[in-house]
């Protein structure tokens, strides 16, 4: 291992320009992937924010005793899809309407009788905020005898559904394309490094080096270059994120795990790219 490490470091020292060039290439390839990741991530977060507003409202028949509703609330909260369920009494519904509908304040004040029904407002857990789940929960709410009507803005939820699906597909396709381009560029860069040392590889074989011995420093070097490129790419992405936040919009950055995944991706591509290039080279010579 000692020798492998020394050979790998020596290779950096002997060809500093080519090494720097390949690290830079890897870094920028991954930076493009990172930038796209940032866009996808923020788009996803915004869509999630919007989805958080998905809400089902079940209107309660007038005269239903509070105990009945309270008991039902416990049942509803136990639904796996449900994040929270709250009771809105007739009075608080009116108070809310007064606050929100300022234009009708006078009308609302002069009412003799409160026309607004009490309701149960149900919020769903993330992952259940799509048309199918919302409809299912709505149907179950309708099953309660005291429920008059259930509303959840079907059109809106369906539109949101479609938008999320499109975003996911586009993200996947474009992301895969970016990743593929990064892999090709990084693979080519590593192949250049291998070819540059083909003479050395031939001499190694001549003096009786095993393929494993020849391969190991390349793998180590490739993985290290990939890792370094990944770290630089995350750094560049962070710089981009900071300037976007300062000049354009409030955005989110990768979580620690996501940043680690980019570095890991670089390391794996570096490693596999080297394994492939050296393997092919060793087979050919």
């Amino acid at each position: 291992m000692n020798l492998v490490l020394r050979e790998a470091i020596l290779a950096f020292r002997r060809a500093p320009l080519l090494s720097a060039l390949s690290v830079t290439t890897i870094a920028f390839s991954l930076f493009v992937v990172g930038l796209f990741g940032l866009v996808a991530l923020n788009l996803q977060r915004r869509l999630d924010d919007i989805a958080e507003r998905v809400e089902i409202v079940a209107y309660v028949l007038p005269g239903t005793p509070l105990e009945t509703v309270t008991l039902a609330l416990q049942d509803v909260e136990a639904f796996p899809e449900v994040a929270s369920a709250g009771y809105v009494s007739e009075d608080s519904a009116l108070a809310r309407a007064r606050g929100e509908l300022a234009e009708f304040r006078d009308v609302l004040r002069e009412l003799e009788r409160n026309p607004l029904p009490a309701s149960i407002e149900v919020k769903l857990e993330p992952g259940f905020r799509d048309t199918d789940h919302v409809t299912q929960v709505a149907e179950r709410l309708r099953g309660f005898g005291f429920v008059d009507d259930v509303r959840f803005g079907r059109d809106w939820v369906e539109k949101l559904d479609r938008l999320r699906r499109v975003a996911a597909i586009v993200g996947l396709v474009v992301g895969a394309a970016f990743a593929a381009v990064a892999i090709i560029i990084i693979g080519t860069t590593i192949r250049m490094a291998v070819l540059q040392r083909s003479r050395e590889i031939a001499i190694m074989r001549l003096v009786g080096a095993t393929d494993g011995f020849i391969r190991r420093p390349f793998l180590l070097q490739g993985a290290f270059k990939g890792m370094l490129g990944g770290v630089i790419a995350v750094g560049l992405s962070y710089a981009a994120y900071v300037s976007i936040n300062r000049w354009l919009i409030q955005a989110d950055f990768f979580s620690r795990e996501q940043a680690a995944a980019i570095v890991g991706f670089g390391t794996v591509i570096g490693f596999l790219g080297s394994a492939l290039s050296v393997g092919r080279h060793l087979k050919r010579v």
Binding site: E200, I203, V207, G208, A209, F213
Partner: protein, 231 residues
Amino acid sequence: MIKFEHVFKSFPKGGLALKDVSFHVAKGEFVFLTGHSGAGKSTVLKLIYADERPTGGEVRVSGFPAGDLPARDVPQLRRRLGVVFQDFRLLEDRTAEENVAFALEVTGARRGQIPPRVMRVLTQVGLAAKAQAYPRELSGGEQQRVAIARALVNEPTVLLADEPTGNLDERATRGVFQLLRDINASGTAVLMATHDLDIVRQAPYRIIELQDGAVVYDSTVDEPRDRAAGP
């Protein structure tokens, strides 16, 4: 030590390179492999160090079936051989000492053993004083000595030399050839491919001559002939 039995070699695009080549090289023998360029000298050497495989016949080297040795066993065979070339094939970015040490490192020799063994062979080839020099700082003859030191450091039983003096002036040629003779005198078999008849004439060693891929003369079997006439 080296045994060729009815060896044929053809290349997919190059026609027949060797035709029914048979010869034995005994332990400690010195053999010249002569012939014009393209006669098949390098192919014979490549078959010995398993860089090429025969298309027919049998090649055995130091007990290894070199002809059909599994790829993973090839390094083991090469560690028993030393090979030197016309173009030296040194690593340009390593010193003479590092070039020689490299051959030991790849075989997994103990680290502590490496420097004394390297210095011993560098001394043997007369380059102890230039251990720290890079190939570009050495003359052709000196570079070939480093290459020979590298070939010797694993204490091979056979030294293969492919036109080792082809790039050298007369003085350096004489020096390198004398070095090969000394190595042979200490018990290592030497198989030297050359088309330099002056060298061949200098020493009373066995000659195997190739022509168009076939052995046309072997001084141990055929009638002695005027060495000066040569191939």
